[in-house]
């Protein structure tokens, strides 16, 4: 029977929580600030070799000759691999949708700059890179196709010839009476947008140490894996071994944001290890490899959107046409990013009809992958611009038009037209908090005065949903058939009452171990320092996914609480037996098993656990001597998707309202953010400092998306952004210090009422900044519609607005 998991803090067996809900210090931090955490590049195994990868310098070509003899002859080189090895011994990489995969090393043809062509394992990385210089490759150039719109046309060069097309998926989804909404609208607004490629760029790149055991045919891969269990499946599929022969060990990693990848690198290192007789092989991706050939590019999108609006500002219909450029193959799960907007397609609004005209296209660029937010951030950026366009045309304040269309707070749970259900919310309250905190009216007056002086000052005020607790069923339209995402934990108590929780993921930065320790400390009435969280590898851990999709805080809390409830049930039975009472009369409270109504009749948890472990003679006959239990949580009430993708998918809907004030320098077109206000409602905050960190980090990445970050390719498909001097990450000078307010609308569906918030403000910040920029530009009659709003792009717009200058 599934355990009863408390949905509120009051359901915890403590008279007052001492840790949950408090901004406790993170148990992860002392080791991290000391540089003592074992990131993967800190691991050295006996006999370890180092891998370097030769990558394609051209976007599209046939490999006509490859000669590795020079490299093989070098002393210190133990293995060299090419695409022919991969073709002979491996399956193509898995893709979403299925059936578009290539090999982990290019076999016969290269499809993007940076694609692995050959690899070397040598005694040092220096030597391995020297050996790459001795590999001769001849390429016969093919016409590159770099533009997604061109790639869709008949006669375009083909990325995968055998497929006969570059179009991976083309389908129009219609929900509700879209034609009717547009027919009966008083106004219809249409605009095109271009969101350029950007991506995760965690400060640590991907790294792996792979070791093939040539005797028993097993493989161990240690690395900076975000989702080790899925990596084991992916690698086993490519290497054509059964998954139970692959052990994946996730090391602490220096951030991920979805952009860690690792399948190709792991398979290459594994094959090298096999060829080198089982010596461990380390591959650490360097930053240039990450930028050009890693898992750090996402969301290369051409949008056209239309909004149907009534004269009073009521939004009645939304059409979005998306051409999503997936790059060379759909191996990076970029397609999932195109499907995820279904979770929150119509944002905070009661829009009753929507259409999604979706095309996924291949081009000769790096395959796109996941990035924090996984798709909705560009979608929100488009939808919120459309709402502002309508507001401006109708003469309604941006806050007011949103308020008129908000899902009312008493309408939850609320099913949006694309099928997902929002759990709870109070969007008007968040908007009110921002208006009040920022003195919005005063800001508008100041803006009027600034405009009168010819200054370009703008305000962006937007409200968005952050879908939380991801579920696979949200991605059904791109060919993902599953429903439910298990997350397990095992909780054990030792004979001194100390607690260990075993989980299937490692440190990534969000502070999940701290949350688990908070929950367990309150549950069993101990200190957080009495709790230890231990990562298990992919074979040892209970079913797990790990961090991703703003899910783990909620899912882990569910797993920990479920396991704790099961341990409690055992403790209660043993304590009742020892106290010669009926189990129903015994309860856990504040770390003691108490006989209800009998003062002083109680046993500490540690004592009961010690009896279980050391005095089997005292136990009830059918209780095992184990104060330990496992629980695997998955979101309740999820439904499989119908053919239009409608499903109860993401379990929670957090809400944020952001206001940003910008000023554009008319001479340099530089955007300066000089005010930022946030009201955020992600339900019950298990650790408010963790939540604040997620939101502020999301703002920073949102600023990067809005103003700075872009992967640039030239017409030949050459990657022009290969260092941090070309790909601009926000520095401490670029990120505003936002003023923040907290709202708490608990989720009725989740453990302790918490909602997913790990992806946070990246859902909102790009939209808010572009709204502010366009508010500043409005008097000039021009509109920015391309990301990032770089000085060069805005300067061009300003010149167009000033003929004669």
């Amino acid at each position: 029977m599934p355990p009863e998991i408390p949905k509120t803090l009051a359901g915890l067996p403590t008279s007052a929580p001492r840790f949950v809900g408090k901004p406790t210090a993170r148990i992860e931090d002392p080791a991290l600030v000391s540089g003592r955490v074992e990131f993967i590049d800190n691991l050295a195994l006996p006999g370890m070799l180092h891998c370097a990868i030769l990558r394609s310098p051209v976007a599209h070509a046939r490999i006509t000759r490859i000669d590795v003899r020079g490299a093989e002859a070098m002393p210190g080189v133990f293995a060299v691999l090419t695409g022919e090895d991969a073709r002979r011994t491996t399956a193509p990489l898995a893709t979403i949708p299925e059936g578009w995969g290539v090999h982990c090393l290019a076999a016969g043809k290269v499809r993007f700059v940076g694609e692995p062509v050959a690899a070397v394992a040598a005694t040092t990385r220096y030597l391995a890179e020297d050996a790459l210089e001795r590999i001769e490759v001849e390429y016969e150039p093919l016409d590159p196709i770099v533009d997604a719109v061109e790639a869709m046309k008949p006669g375009a060069p083909l990325i995968l010839e055998e497929k006969g097309t570059n179009v991976v998926l083309q389908k129009k989804f219609v929900w509700g009476d879209v034609a009717g909404a547009f027919r009966s609208a008083d106004r219809v607004f249409t605009e095109r947008f271009r969101w350029n490629r950007l991506g995760a760029n965690p400060m640590e790149t991907f790294g792996v140490v792979a070791q093939w055991d040539p005797v028993d045919g097993t493989l161990t891969c240690r690395g900076s894996y975000q989702t080790q269990g899925y990596m084991a499946l992916a690698v086993a599929t490519v290497l054509q071994v059964s998954a139970h022969r692959v052990r994946v060990v996730s090391h602490p990693h220096g951030g991920s944001f979805g952009g860690k990848g690792g399948t190709r690198g792991t398979c290459i290192a594994a094959l090298l290890s096999r060829k080198a007789g089982g010596r461990p092989v380390k591959w650490i991706e360097d930053r240039m490899e990450y930028l050009v050939g890693g898992a750090g590019q996402a969301w290369d999108r051409h949008y056209e959107a239309s909004l149907a609006v009534k004269a009073d500002g009521t939004l009645t219909g939304l059409r979005v046409r998306l051409i999503d450029d997936l790059g060379g193959t759909p191996e990076g799960a970029g397609a999932i990013s195109a499907a995820k907007p279904l979770t929150s397609f119509t944002g905070c609004y009661t829009i009753g009809a929507a259409e999604y005209d979706l095309t996924l296209v291949l081009t000769n660029k790096l395959p796109t992958g996941p990035y924090r937010g996984m798709g909705p951030p560009p979608h929100n950026w488009v939808v919120e611009q459309m709402v502002d366009i309508a507001a401006r045309d109708l003469g309604i304040d941006p806050g007011e038009i949103r308020r008129r269309n908000f899902i009312p707070k008493d309408a939850f749970p609320y099913e949006i037209v694309t099928g997902n259900e929002y759990d709870s919310g109070d969007y008007a309250a968040a908007l009110d908090r921002v208006i009040e905190m920022s003195e919005y009216r005063r800001l508008r007056e100041e803006q009027e005065r600034a405009r009168a002086q010819g200054r370009l000052v703008g305000l962006g005020l937007v409200s968005t949903i952050e879908p939380g607790v991801f579920d696979w069923n949200a991605y059904a339209i791109v060919g993902v058939p599953m429903t439910g995402v298990p997350e397990g934990a095992t909780v054990s108590i030792d004979l001194f009452g100390k607690i260990v929780a075993k989980v299937g993921f490692s440190l990534e930065g969000q502070g999940q171990y701290t949350v688990a320790a908070q929950v367990l400390a309150d549950y069993f009435g101990v200190e957080m320092s009495d709790v230890r969280i231990v990562a298990q590898d992919s074979l040892a851990a209970p079913p797990h996914f790990g961090p991703g999709g703003s899910r783990l805080g909620v899912a882990l809390t569910g797993a920990i609480l479920g396991a704790a409830e099961r341990v409690k049930a055992k403790l209660v039975r043993v304590a009742a037996h020892l106290m010669q009472a009926d189990p129903s009369a015994v309860e856990l409270m504040d770390g003691k098993l108490r006989l209800r109504g009998v003062a002083g009749a109680e046993m500490p948890v540690a004592q009961v656990a010690a009896v279980m472990l050391t005095r089997s003679d005292l136990l009830p006959p059918d209780v095992e001597p184990s104060p330990e239990a496992t629980y695997v949580w998955t979101a309740p009430g999820r439904t499989p998707a119908d053919e239009n993708g409608r499903a109860k998918s993401y379990l929670t809907a957090a809400n944020a309202c952001h206001l940003v004030r910008v000023e554009i320098d008319p001479d340099t077109a530089q955007v300066r953010i000089d005010g930022y206000w946030i009201a955020d409602d992600c339900g019950v905050r298990l650790n408010p400092a963790n939540v604040e960190g997620m939101i502020r980090g999301g703002v920073a990445q949102g600023v990067g998306a809005a103003l700075l970050e872009e992967y640039v390719y030239d017409a030949e498909g050459q990657a022009l952004t290969s260092t941090f001097m070309d790909y601009l990450l926000p520095s401490i000078h670029d990120v505003p210090q936002a003023q923040m307010a907290t709202l708490v609308t608990p989720s009725p569906f989740t453990p302790l009422g918490a909602k997913g918030v790990g992806e946070g403000a990246i859902h909102t910040t790009p939209a808010a900044i572009l709204c502010a920029i366009n508010d500043a530009l409005a008097p000039l009659g021009v509109r920015a519609t391309e990301s990032p709003a770089s000085p060069q792009r805005l300067w061009t717009l300003l010149q167009n607005a000033k003929p004669g200058r």
Partner: protein
Amino acid sequence: MTNPVAGTRPALHAIRVTVNGVVHEASVDPRTTLADFVRGDLGLGGTHVGCEHGVCGACTILVEGETARACLMLAVQADGRSITTIEGIGAEGALHPIQQAFVDERGLQCGFCTPGFVMTVHELLATRPDPSDEEILDHLGGNLCRCTGYESILRSVRLAARRLREAKAAGAEEKA
């Protein structure tokens, strides 16, 4: 890390480097970066490498008390010099006040960039014990963090500065 192989043996250079107060004598391939030497040869893994081209600041260490990018220096350039890495500040069971401030103000999430920030702040507070916010921003402009949004890092530096000033004042009082 830099052990050469017979047949490709480059001319090795003998160097003598003091790292965290300990003298190390080594023979290194001249192309070995200081980051690889410190991490690989000396086993001091706290100096993280984020970009290998001097932009991100994760590998920041102190050379004669001044910040340097360990990825942009060669080990041979450190010959005869004194270096401090993240392992050289703080003691067992007692974090350095800068590290403690980062813990207390949540100046980190994944922690990969953190040693570089801590070393950069170390240099700042050694020369400016009471920095203005503007000075802090100026000094940290070359360290990238992808997680925090920097606000908590700014708070961490303010707190560390205050605690170090208070500790110094208390120490001066004790002496008097």
